[in-house]
């Protein structure tokens, strides 16, 4: 049986973290959560490999999620990088484009759109077989 795709979800809002974990676990993903950029950076630099990293932008500091996205973009293999934010701006979206983030979503999140995008990106990268995770 193929292994479940692994996701790291990062948000300082406990309810968002809880909801995303619940919804994506139901879709068959293996979820790890972090409530800050610092915690997430420790995880990705500590030999943890994730197929995708989903992060909020504004946590300890404004737009600090970009720092995590930038670190994730340097990993080999490069995980799928998803940013979600309630504070989208031209500046942070331009930053995300520069890092070549794979998906940029604005809060309130459309969970169906997010799930479809995540699945599409993971299949395309060959991390998931066709069909649901």
């Amino acid at each position: 049986m193929p292994e479940k795709p692994t996701l790291l979800i990062v948000d300082d809002e406990a309810n968002v973290l809880f909801t995303l974990k619940l919804v994506l676990e139901e879709d068959g993903y293996d979820i790890t959560t972090a409530s800050s950029c610092a915690e997430a950076l420790k995880l990705i630099h500590n030999a943890h490999q994730f197929d995708a990293i989903l992060t909020d932008l504004r946590m300890e500091q404004e737009d600090i999620g970009l720092e995590l996205a930038e670190a994730a973009a340097k990993l080999h293999p490069r995980p799928v990088i998803v940013i979600f934010t309630g504070y989208g701006s031209v500046e942070n979206a331009r930053g995300a484009l520069g890092i070549q983030v794979d998906y940029f979503a604005l809060k309130p999140l459309d969970l169906d759109d997010l799930k479809n995008a995540l699945h599409r990106l993971l299949v395309w990268r060959g991390r998931v077989r066709r069909g649901r995770a």
């Binding site: 989208g88 701006s89 979206a93 331009r94 484009l97 794979d102 998906y103 940029f104 395309w124």
Partner: protein, 139 residues
């Protein structure tokens, strides 16, 4: 394994013939072989028949925003290639759409084509002037 020497190819998709011609001239000067298209069907046909390293696509072809899915398809077919989109304004929505379609860069419509091409050549590390070998060949 032998390296296959061939000219890099660029796809230019724009509804305006003048712009197509300007981009084509600039890219040709940088030694890229170009294919131009003014609509989605022609662009899709070109995508099935060539390997492109670069694309410049207008976000508005037949109607507003229809260049985005074409850019998305280009990225799916040529994931290592550079796809850029010409937009009316670099607002949040256009930046979000660019990211979600795998676009590397967007340029505003009022950007001069030579600045656009220069930025693309820098990003893709293609030399902006002909090589010495090819310059002599042209003389």
């Amino acid at each position: 394994m032998s390296a296959l020497a061939r000219q890099k190819m660029a796809l230019i998709v724009h509804p305006d013939l003048t712009m197509l011609s300007r981009y084509q001239a600039l890219l040709t000067r940088a030694e890229l072989s170009t294919v131009v298209a003014r609509d989605i069907p022609t662009a899709l046909m070109a995508i099935t028949q060539h390997y492109f390293e670069v694309a410049i696509i207008s976000s508005q072809l037949g109607e507003s925003g229809d260049g985005w899915p074409l850019a998305g398809v280009f990225h799916l077919v040529f994931p290592k290639s550079f796809v850029s989109v010409i937009v009316p304004g670099a607002d949040l929505l256009n930046l979000q759409t660019a990211i979600n379609n795998g676009v590397q860069e967007i340029f505003e419509e009022d950007h001069a084509p030579d600045a656009v091409v220069s930025a693309i050549l820098t990003a893709t590390a293609i030399p902006a002037t002909p090589s010495a070998r090819n310059r002599s060949r042209l003389q």
